[in-house]
Symmetry: C2
Subunit: 317 residues, 2 copies
């Protein structure tokens, strides 16, 4: 196999992602254009992976290279290819942490794309997925793929199976736009998982997989009405909505403004709405943002189409 | 609305159907070309619906027009359109009863298409679905749609939701063929339902809806490998396989013969295999049939593509 060019310095971007899509808990996720994280790696002769700088995290991320997810996956990568390359890691968080937008996934994926590029692409992008999933295990105790897979590959992704890992890219209707609202309340992923029931009624599960099937059919047939009808959640939303202040008010505002669907992004507190085109996404975000402002709830709004590319190389030199 | 021509005598066919497709319990079903039932209706001046003849049922079906599903749905139909038309019903069972092939659905759907034609098509085919579902309630205690919808409309059908009723036609890969093996053991639908657990682990449900999503993606993308990988059942098959003698032997024989997927048709005892083309379907049926013969298990074999049309009018005069 021909080794590609190696680099001294690499900077990458990996996007935020929305997982679950209401009825597809733990199996569906899609990538956004914005927000996202940037990671920069620089070779050195130290023989170790170290954190050089972290910006935008408000001091929340571990500076210890053992505990930081981005540096940890760089180490996993180097172990896998049997390298003792010294690397200084810079992490630029450009999205909220613990937000339900796949913040840890964005950092891991950006770091893995960066180190793979730095080292001359010894692995394929597909090979990076299990390493990114290990990053998720470190970050939240569970090696889930519904943020790292879309952050890595882009698009709207189905994780059909974890053992063996089976990833399916689903088509995305061209006009589909996403309004993202992140209210600044804390919903740690571990806690949001711990409140889920271990067992669920078979009757509810049947409703859920009818909806998942409808969602996939809607994506292939470009049927936004079916997409909206399918994106209801009988299992997770009823348990988690209480973690998000004014969830039902926001849902009603989104529905009134013509949202195709509205739900919790990942484990929250971020919520998302699907809209037919950017102007409708703006119309949905506006009243929700106004409501949160009047409720004195600090929040961020993002508008984005589904990002078909996933993580991107920004600089390699 | 212009009333279409009415008839004195109508004869119809409605096909057998395979529901569940392993991972799509209660939400997926498809129609076969063969076997199926025929129903004939003749007007008379009695003012009542009566059973004139039943063939092919081995004397198992009720001759009482109140209790027979086919005559009962004819009555429901006449009630709905406010008619007191006298009708003599003939039912020709051309498929095994209590087989998991939607036998009651085939009779109900054939009867409803027949009476609608006889009366000059006052209802659409879509209007007939809720009446056919009422027939299922009478036949097995549950107004499920995963046999009546494919028998009525043909093709491979998703019941996305029951309330409100939302039916989605899914595309079928052109080369997809089905081998059907019906071992003559009794598995009443009511019993097969009663052994299902009321609650299931969330972890298993997630696997199941990942697979349902994969199955739908496979149908749209014509990916028979993904179809096969997706058609595993973590919920129902493990509970029901014990009701079917030598289920795992038949499954192994099907897999060895190149089956794309193998599973229980409806609530059994019929099993089905998907194959890429008729010759492979024959190759799958052959060793299973030989095995059942050597085990002294009486059985029937059917080979069929997916029937895209559903119930058909045979004679109207």
């Amino acid at each position: 196999m021909m080794q590609k060019k190696q680099f001294q310095y690499v900077r990458t971007f990996a996007p935020a992602s929305v997982s679950n899509l209401n009825c597809g808990f733990d199996v569906l996720g899609f990538a956004l254009h914005t927000p996202g994280d940037e990671v920069e790696l620089r070779r050195n002769n130290s023989g170790v992976v170290s954190i050089e700088t972290i910006t935008g995290d408000g001091g929340l991320l571990p500076r210890d290279a053992d505990k930081n997810t981005a540096s940890a996956v760089v180490r996993l990568f180097l172990d896998k290819i049997g390298s003792r390359q010294g690397i200084a890691v810079g992490i630029h968080k450009k999205m909220p942490l613990n937000s339900g937008l796949g913040s840890s996934a964005a950092s891991s994926v950006a770091a893995l794309l960066a180190v793979n590029t730095l080292m001359g692409e010894p692995l394929t992008r597909k090979d990076l997925l299990p390493l990114a999933m290990e990053g998720e295990r470190l970050a939240c105790g569970n090696a889930h793929a519904d943020n790292v897979a879309p952050a890595l590959f882009g698009g709207l992704v189905l994780i059909r199976s974890y053992t063996p890992l089976d990833i399916v890219q689903l088509p995305v209707p061209e006009t589909l736009f996403c309004a993202i609202i992140h209210p600044e309340v804390s919903v740690p992923t571990r806690e949001a998982r711990s409140i889920l029931p271990e067992k669920i009624p078979l009757r509810d599960a049947v409703k859920q997989w009818g909806n998942v099937a409808g969602l996939v059919a809607a994506l292939y047939s470009n049927d936004l009405s079916l997409l909206g009808r399918s994106m209801t959640d009988h299992i997770v939303e009823p348990v988690r909505e209480h973690l998000i202040p004014d969830f039902n008010t926001m849902k009603q505002l989104a529905t009134d403004a013509g949202a195709i669907a509205f739900g919790i992004s990942g484990s929250g507190p971020t919520v998302f709405a699907f809209a037919d085109g950017l102007p409708k996404a703006q119309n949905i975000a506006k009243p929700i943002s106004a409501f949160l402002t009047s409720s004195k709830m600090p929040h961020q709004v993002y508008l984005s189409a589904i990002n078909p590319l996933g993580a991107q190389l920004l600089i390699a030199e």
